[in-house]
Symmetry: C2
Subunit: 320 residues, 2 copies
Amino acid sequence: MQAIGIDLGGTYIKAALVHKAFGLVRTNSVETGADKGKEHVLNQIEEVVKSLMRRRDRISGVGIGAPGSIDMDRKMIIKPANMPGWDVVDMRKILKKRLGKRLNIFVENDANAAALGSARYGAARNYDHFIMVTLGTGVGGAIVFNKRIFRGSTGAAGEVGHVTINYAGPPDLTGVNGAIEAYLGQRFLVGHAREHLEDFPESTLYVSPGLENLTPATITDAALNGDPGAISVLEWAGRKLGCFLGGVVNLLDIRTIVIGGGVSKAGDLLLKPAREIIPSYIVPGMQENVVLVQETLGNEAGMLGAACLVFDQLDDQNQK
Amino acid sequence: MQAIGIDLGGTYIKAALVHKAFGLVRTNSVETGADKGKEHVLNQIEEVVKSLMRRRDRISGVGIGAPGSIDMDRKMIIKPANMPGWDVVDMRKILKKRLGKRLNIFVENDANAAALGSARYGAARNYDHFIMVTLGTGVGGAIVFNKRIFRGSTGAAGEVGHVTINYAGPPDLTGVNGAIEAYLGQRFLVGHAREHLEDFPESTLYVSPGLENLTPATITDAALNGDPGAISVLEWAGRKLGCFLGGVVNLLDIRTIVIGGGVSKAGDLLLKPAREIIPSYIVPGMQENVVLVQETLGNEAGMLGAACLVFDQLDDQNQK
C-alpha cells in the first residue's frame, strides 16, 4: 500500500510517496508561499503531489500534517498559524476535487503527524504507547496510545509544551506561566544559557558564536564537543524536562517518552539528567520501566506520519 | 440488569445491590478487619454480598473497588495499602469459588471505581470525558474518556494528585515536590490555613475549633458560614487546583472536571477561584467550554461504579 504524506509548513511544503512497509519511496518539496494566499498554497500542494507520481504508481490517499487545529473528522484545517486568509478549509473536499474523488484525504495536526511517523518508522516503533516531545522554537508534542494519536474531546490534545511545572514561573510563548516551553523553548533556553554561562568563563561559547549569537544549536554543538558550560546548560534543561515528564507518567501511566527537535540532538547530555530526576516526580508504583529515547527521523517524521493517516484508516475499514 | 458493587476500604466494606437503570437497590456494610488477615476479609466480603441477596434477586456479577494496583485484566489486587499479608490476590478466582462460578467478577482501583460511579449516576453523567479529582487525606482521581476509565499502559493511570505544579515546592505524601496534594491534601491544607489565618485575626476558626484542631471540614464549614479567613483559604486552594487543571486540559483536551471528596463540599467557594484562573494556564485554543462541577454522590460513587464494571463488560460482550 502506498500513500502521499505531506508536511504543510509555513515556509515549505514537504511531500513524500510512502510505501507502508518500506517507508519513503521518493520526496519533493516546494515553497509554501503562504503570503500569496490560499489558492496559491492549494496549487502548490496539487503540484507537489503530482510531481511524486509516476505512471505506474497507485496511491490510496493523501495525508497532510498541518499547523493549527483539525476537526474530529480529520478533514478540516481550522485557522492555521502563518496561513493568512485560511479561516476554516475543508481539505478533504478540495483535494478530492483536485486530485481524484476516490482518494482518501486526511488532515492531522503537524505535531500529531510527526508522532505517528515516530510510532511507525522511528524511535517509537517498538512501543504501543508514548509521549512525544518536540523541542523547537516552541515545545510541541503528542500522546500516542495503542499506536494511535490520543486526540481528546475536540482533537486538540497533546499540548505538552504548555503544562505548567511552576505556576509562578516565567510565561511561555502562549502566556502560560512556568510551562516546559518557558524553559526549553528556543529563546528561553538561550536566555537561560546566557545567565548560566556566567559561572563558566572558560566556555568556548563566549568566543564562538559569542553570547549575543547563541542558539540552541550552538549550545548543543558545544556540549557535544565537551564544553562544560554548554553541558551544564543542557543538564539544567534535562532536569526541567524530567520534572514535567514525571507528572505525565503519573497522569497517563505512559512510560515511554520520545524526544525530538533541535536540542534532542544532544542525546544523553539532555536525556540522562532527565532520566535521573524523573522518578522523584512519580508515585512509587510507576517509577519502573520509564524509557526516554531520542527521535532521529528529523523532518521525515511528519511526511511519514501523514501517510500513516491513510494507512490507518484503511486498516480500520478492513477490520470492520 | 443487576450487580453487586463493593467499596473495599481499610476500615469498612461497603456493598450495594445496584440496578443498572435505577442505581442503588439496597446497601449494607461490615467492618473490614484487615488486621485479622486475608481470609477474614474474604469471609466478610462473602457475607456482605450474601446479605444483599433476596430469594428472587438475579445478579450478573460482582464489582470491587479496592486500594492499590489492579492488573490490566481487572481480576487481581496487587499489594493493596492497609491490607497486611495480601501481596497479589486473584479476586476473580476466589470470589467465583465462594459465590458462584457463573458470576462475572471485576476489580478496579477504588478511585477509578468512584469515577465510574460519577460517570453513570453522578455529576458527570452528561459528559463523555472528564477528569475526576477527589480531595481527601490525599488527592486521588481518575481519567474518564468515552465513558470508560483511561487506564494507561499497566492500569495505573489517573494519579492526578501527584503531578507537580511547582517543581521546587513542598513534598506531597508520596514525596513528589509541589504536587497538588502538597497544597490540597488534608494536612497540607490545614498547615497552610494556619499560616494564612494570621491575616484574619477575626476568623471564627480561632475560637471554634481552634487552630490546633483545624481540619478541612471545619475550614469548609466556616467558609460556608461566611468566615472571611476560611473563604480566603479556599480561594487560595482553588487557585492551586486551577493551575493544575489547566495543565491537564492542555495535555488531554478533556475539559470537564468533577471535584469530589471532603473539601469539594465548599462548592463554588473552591471552584469559582479555580474557574477564574484556569484559562491562564491553558493554550488559547482550548480555553473555551471548561466545566468544573462538584460531585455530590459521596460514598455511594464507589459502590455504584464497582457495579458498573460488570455492566460495562456485559455491554461490550453484547456488542461483539
